[in-house]
């Protein structure tokens, strides 16, 4: 299963590695780590957001390990994708494997397609789809859009991006 959690670690050298060690110790796979430098805390601590892939039965072992090592789990498994954008794709979307197009975003671990509206006027004609993408951060959103831009180029899809100010 894929879970996201926000950890609080002490702002001293080596603490980030120490916090990530237990994850691999229990056989978890780290997909993304976002180190929040602007995490404000008087206690001299930092926030770290991680997304991990872990067998369900090992989750409690991991949480115990964190506890033992003094790492606080601030948030666990909640909605983690805060950044949302919609793009419109125009082209032969079904014939160019829409599932694969969506998958390219979903498998990044830092962004996913959460909604899709599709309009198919007639067989043979190009269809149009609005994809809503959620991502962990603005940077991740930019990366996701870039991936989609490449995929669109390969599949001769016209991608209309939002104008972001």
């Amino acid at each position: 299963m894929q879970v996201s959690m926000k950890l609080e670690i002490r702002d001293t050298p080596g603490q980030l590695v120490a916090a990530l060690m237990p994850i691999s110790d229990v056989g978890g796979n780290i997909k993304t780590v976002i180190h929040e430098h602007d995490f404000s805390s008087d206690k001299g601590s930092l926030g770290v957001e991680v997304v991990i892939e872990i067998p369900k039965e090992r989750l409690s072992a991991l949480l115990n390990l964190f506890k033992e090592r003094g790492i606080t789990v601030i948030r666990f498994g909640e909605e983690r994708m805060h950044y949302q954008q919609s793009v419109i794709l125009i082209g032969h979307l079904i014939h160019t494997n829409l599932g694969d197009t969506v998958d390219r975003i979903d498998k990044t671990g830092f962004a996913e397609v959460t909604k899709m509206s599709l309009a198919m006027p007639a067989i043979q004609e190009r269809s149009s789809a609005k994809c809503t993408i959620k991502a962990l951060s603005r940077e991740h959103m930019d990366k996701a859009i870039e991936i989609l831009r490449d995929v669109s180029k390969q599949k001769e899809i016209l991608m209309i991006e939002p104008l972001e100010f």
Binding site: I90, A119, S128, K130, I160, E161, P162, L163
Partner: protein
Amino acid sequence: MVFRIALIGTGAVGRGILEAMSRKELGLVLTGVADSRSGMISPEGISPSSLLERKKKTGLCGETGISADDVVKKAPYDVLVEVSPTDASTGEPATGYIRTALSRKCHVVTSNKGPVALHYHELKQEADKAGVLFRFEATVAGAIPILHTLHESLGGNEVRALYGVLNGTCNYILTRMAEEGLSYKQALDEARALGYAEADPTYDVKGIDAAIKLVILANTVWNRRISLDDIDITGIDLLTEEAIRLAEEQDATIRLIGEIIPEKNLFRLSPRIIPRHHPLVVHGSLNAIILRTDLAGDLVFSGKGAGSLETASAVLGDILSIRDRYAGGN
């Protein structure tokens, strides 16, 4: 004191200039004029209103034995006003006329995008060497005084980004698709019927015209040396009406937006999803520009991007500012 101009081109822009000159006391004397087939040189001055009349009646502005080249080389003038149609691939014959005028130490004002997009730096250098001015306000966004604003008024600012609706034909098509539910083809046909789009609309709908304006902005405002190939261009010709409906679901629409972010080396023209009440969402054939600056904050401009008198307004602004600078004002 008199300030003499020679006019090359009597199409829509040239006619607008002549009309404004005949309607108003601008203090300009027309000493030479040429179209693609004829020309006239008169050191005493040519009456703009009788010239318009003659052109209307005969289709010619002067005598067939006199060419534009003759006027550029021989007529006595202070400013060459070059408003012939744009050739985006060679910039000729306009670039040649401009070079000749500069070599005669005459100022040049043009509405022709070709020479500016292709040869700005050389022409500017030649003008500097000759101690004269080379101005081209009308090449970008028609009546909107965007180049003057960027070159002069915002002098102390760092302009961090420019976003613009720079092609009236595309904006007209997108407006009609959004407001009337027309298909791309229906909207294009309508634009053609109303004279907003050419018989061959490729230049507009594929984004070439708007991209050329981005080249002009990049090279003249940000001192780049880019060409059309350096702009990431996507036109509107593959848009579907369904795409516009999908954008409307989130209270947005689609517009063709030119974007320059110098810091990121980003020069891009593409259809974008944009909130329906955004200041760049102007209607019909209007143009709009937003500048993001460090001192002045955000600035928004909108107005007519084409049209006979509207483009003439930009050309006349250039001519009169040169006159005021060099002739001490009237």
